[in-house]
Amino acid sequence: MTNSPAAESPDVAAVITQLQQELADGKIELPLLPNVAAEVLSSSLDDQSDAARLAELIQQDQGLATHVIRIVNSPAFRGAIEIVALQQAIARLGMERIREIALSASLKGSLFKKGAYQQITDESWQLALAAGLWSKEAARASRRNVEIAYLCGLLHNIGTPMLLNRLGELVPSMPRRDVDVLLETLTPEAGARLAREWKLPGAVLASIEYLHRFAEAGDDQDVVAVTECGVALAQWMCKKGLLVSEVMQLPATQHLNLYPEDVELLLDKQEQIKISMESMG
């Protein structure tokens, strides 16, 4: 299901129609889920995986391993001793954090890559990362599951880079306003296609499909509301025009029973999240 664009030029309408058709016909090329991301995703809800296996997984991708080591030595995470090995990194930061870093880095490298709409791609990546981190905090504050919240936030706009890649092929240069309309219209649909193709967890799929419509998400209402709240806080932090007062008034925030004072408390996490983003981004 897609939203109707608020206003669009005839050109953008035609591109939207074409992309919609390609999505419906399965003609749009879906990127492959990177191996590391796939394994990290499948292990993130599985208590069996261990530190050695995770390290081995990351080590298979030299670029990723380097990236993880760079992040754990960044100011956000750096301790007294320099980290030189992945096992050491896992011991320092913990499996969950390393999983998050690996997943984020892997997705960024494969999906949010350089292309025609680089600035928008970069912005959507920043938003994804912030949404993942804020979703965790929203989940924690509202006593919902914290582990799944990061995934849902991080992947909420996974359809965006895919659309931008295809758009770059079709129309190398389109006004920003039109691109925004296109993304607003098609991101949920494209993301849902990708989530199904990649067999992402049901909660992630629901967070993509029902974002901004959490009340329709059935049993996944809570996790979608957490994601909506996380995305809203990310938009606020990334200066996407959303005000704190608007975050407080969101139906999703209220669904989670987060009072204005609870949201204020959440905002205290901003610096911590910024530091994490600078390191991971």
């Binding site: 809800l45 930061l93 969950e96 965790k136 989940a139 924690r140 914290v146 209220q254 204005p260």
Partner: protein, 471 residues
């Protein structure tokens, strides 16, 4: 500004019953609830969810046992908690609907927001959208409940270290779980997760968990818990709990040992929930334990303000809280609430189920001298065999004057069975009442007769012995 005869803060068992009783007495009543739904922690975090999870755990264990009895391979017990919780959600929703309708039917206004006293006649209610409304009332009932007790050395993060309000947000069953505490909540969750196949370590500072219970019940509980793979560490001095930075949570003891687990549940009791209520503005006295001081019928230091339920402290049972709520409303209405029950049964929905009413063996001996005990093992009862649930025990404590002083049960339906004993206690029933009357066959209730027969025989033997000595 809204105005009410009775303004109830909190919609848990205590607040709900107070509100309904007051409304039935013709008063204009409002209930202020900070959660979106009515019912309080009882419905949304505690009593109902844990009991619903317990039932699902039993269903699963029975299904697995049945498959194994048919030589069908164990399908694996690591069912996602989300699936179990999904079913629990339906139970909670049904309960929420029922309670909401009950409040509506009685013409009670439900106000969603956080209350704080302005003075003894006015409260401000901050709504979820930030709007603040002011209300006045002739009477107030504080029934704001409790929250998990948190300690500095156990940093609950709801991700690796949970409290009893967040444990059911788990997305999957961990392989191992440490449960801190030896009270009702700790033992219930510990035994439920053990039944679900999680390796559970229950850690408490006392030598035995559930120290207030009769030792025979505790012994059976621990046997069952260990049978399901759980282990208990008593007399433990936990120094710190911390995530190890890799994948486990470490529970450090003062003597240097460490227990590692995937997750930790901190269930070290609950404390009153008075945050933001500003009871001091109303002149309500709170003691050093942060409990509201109350007199008869829950009347606080301010005569037109009552407090009931967990905010006033033990017994902190939903059942007792409901009665406290009703009695407070009766006092407000000027009605006689009736004689206060001296015997409140305790029900523990652990695996196995346990219940108790009256005196323990030690208390009865102290109060009434020598007592005799009558036991009935569920393995002696046809119903136990039929239901494949013969692991249980009923214990009757009888004083020399043949009066039953206490009843303690562990096993299937214990929390229901206990009420037969409760009624007997209220009537000062002798052991003969249980011997001379007929119970349905086959039922677990027969255990009363079996235990009573044994107690009567022991009394007779003692009588005979005494006669011989006199002769």
């Amino acid at each position: 500004m809204g105005s009410y005869d009775v303004f109830v803060i909190g919609s848990g068992p205590a607040g709900q019953k107070a509100a309904i009783q007051a409304a039935k007495g013709g008063r204009k009543v409002a209930v202020c609830e900070q959660l979106k739904e009515v019912g309080g922690a009882c419905v949304h975090q505690g009593t109902i969810p844990s009991k619903a999870l317990r039932e699902r755990a039993f269903d699963q264990a029975k299904a697995v046992a049945r498959l194994q009895s048919m030589n069908i391979a164990d399908p694996g017990t690591n069912v996602g908690v989300a699936a179990l919780i999904g079913e629990m959600g339906d139970v909670i929703k049904a309960h929420d609907v029922y309670m909401t309708e009950q409040l509506e039917r009685n013409g009670i206004d439900v106000i969603h927001g956080r209350a704080s006293f302005v003075d003894d006649r006015q409260v401000n209610v901050r709504k979820i959208n930030g709007q603040v409304d002011t209300y006045t009332a002739d009477y107030y009932v504080i029934a704001s409940g409790s929250k998990p007790r948190l300690l500095d050395h156990v940093p609950v993060d709801h991700e690796f270290i949970y409290d009893s309000d967040s444990i059911l947000s788990l997305a999957y069953l961990p392989q191992s779980l440490v449960v801190l505490g030896g009270g009702v909540i700790a033992c219930e969750y510990a035994s439920i997760f053990a039944l679900l196949g999680v390796k559970v370590t229950l850690i408490d500072r006392f030598p035995q968990p559930l120290g207030f219970l009769d030792p025979d019940l505790t012994k059976r509980f621990l046997e069952s818990f260990e049978h399901h793979g759980g282990s208990f560490i008593g007399e433990a001095d936990v120094e710190s709990v911390q995530f190890d930075g890799i994948s486990r949570v470490e529970t450090h003891f003062s003597e240097g040992t460490v227990v590692k687990s995937d997750k930790v549940l901190c269930a070290l009791g609950r404390v009153s929930q008075l945050d933001g209520l500003k009871v001091e503005n109303a002149g309500v006295v709170v003691n050093e334990k942060q409990l509201v001081e109350v007199g008869e019928a829950g009347q606080t230091s301010v005569p037109h303000i009552y407090a009931v339920g967990d905010v006033v402290g033990p017994p902190s049972l939903a059942s007792a809280s409901m009665e406290q709520g009703r009695r407070a409303a009766c006092a407000i209405l000027g009605l006689n609430p009736g004689r206060e029950s001296g015997w409140i049964p305790t029900g523990i929905y652990a695996v196995p189920e346990m219940a108790s009413v009256g005196l323990t063996e030690a208390q009865a001996s102290e109060a009434h001298g020598d007592v005799v005990i009558g036991y009935a093992d569920f393995s002696e009862i046809a119903r136990g065999h039929i239901a494949n649930s013969s692991d249980g025990l009923l214990k009757l404590i009888v004083s020399a004057d043949r009066v039953v002083r206490g009843i303690h049960i562990v096993g299937t339906q214990a929390t229901d069975l206990i009420h037969i004993g409760q009624m007997g206690l209220l009537q000062n029933a002798t052991v003969d009442v249980y011997v001379e009357n007929v119970f349905n066959f086959p039922t677990y209730a027969e255990t009363y007769r079996v235990a009573a027969l044994q107690a009567a025989a022991r009394l007779a033997a003692r009588g005979a012995g005494e006669s011989e000595r006199v002769a």
